[in-house]
């Protein structure tokens, strides 16, 4: 049975310039930096990337869980996401919107309606996007695999 409370620990260590190492115990390290548009180097993940990715990957993991519960027979899943960062009057930059573009491939046209329901339910229960104050907009697409 699931607990009611969990905690997640991360740690960062400066490397040089605007780069750092992101560490989570028992998991691979990641190099993260200020993004180029704010004066950081090219070629590294930024907190902005991770913020948007946390929305899309959590949506995906929620989809996997809901699809399992629904016995949805899907054969493919991709999920692109775009975060819109805007300078707000008196508040600096904030993510105002995250557009999530999940695409589910089902084997049979009969599965389309249930795939729609599972995607909608996944948005409702995605714990990361539910924790964000940005507007989250889902743009679902369902395709039927052609033989």
């Amino acid at each position: 049975m699931a607990e009611d409370k969990y905690s997640y620990d991360t740690n960062t260590k400066w490397i040089e310039g605007k780069r750092m190492k992101l560490m989570v115990k028992g998991k691979p390290d990641l190099q993260v930096s200020t993004p180029p548009e704010f004066g950081g180097p090219e070629g590294f993940l930024s907190p902005e990337d991770l913020f948007v990715a946390s929305a899309s990957t959590c949506f995906a993991t929620t989809f996997f869980a809901m699809a399992e519960r629904a016995r949805l027979n899907y054969v493919g899943f991709t999920c692109r996401a775009t975060g819109t960062l805007e300078k707000l009057e008196g508040k600096g930059f904030q993510f105002t919107k995250i557009d999530i573009y999940p695409e589910v491939t089902v084997a049979d046209e009969e599965e389309r309606e249930r795939a729609e329901q599972v995607l909608g339910t996944s948005k409702k229960y995605c714990l990361v996007t539910n924790s964000m104050k940005s507007e989250v907009i889902l743009h679902p697409k369902i395709t039927v695999k052609k033989d």
């Binding site: 809901m66 629904a70 249930r114 599972v118 339910t121 229960y125």
Partner: protein, 133 residues
């Protein structure tokens, strides 16, 4: 939604396992109550029995899987399943939208109508869920 805001149609009979039964001559139409669907949240899958399956009083006849949990469905009476709501296979969420109407689950040809006497009336069921909650 609190248990007091939910509907309890007076023409139905109810079980402590939150299934309802509507008597239609010698048959009984079965579903889960508004209270149950509200607890379960979004229903994603219903495992339906096949027509002809013998079901027994207060024993499981299927399962319902929601965003939050998996639960058995309990039969309010004994008898043979004569209809199943196949539409739920495609749209299980109908149970959330219309638990007492299009969200019905099976129809049973009742073999022991005396069992009806042990089921709760709407008022009794309302008291039951308000005390449970």
């Amino acid at each position: 939604m609190s248990s007091k805001e939910l509907r309890y149609p007076s023409d139905l009979k109810y079980t402590e396992e939150h299934t309802w039964l509507k008597v239609e001559e010698n048959k009984g139409r079965v579903g889960i109550t508004a209270y149950a669907q509200n607890l379960l949240t979004d229903i994603l899958f219903v495992d339906l029995p096949e027509i002809g399956t013998e079901v027994r009083y207060m024993e499981p006849f299927g399962i319902v899987e929601s965003a939050k949990s998996t639960n058995d469905l309990f039969s309010p009476v004994s008898g043979k399943v004569v209809e199943v709501n196949e539409a739920l296979m495609k749209k299980p969420g109908t149970i959330n939208k219309d638990p007492y109407g299009d969200g019905w689950i099976i129809v049973i040809d009742m073999s022991n109508p005396v069992e009806l006497d042990s089921l709760m009336s709407a008022d009794e069921y309302r008291d039951f869920v308000e005390n449970e909650g």
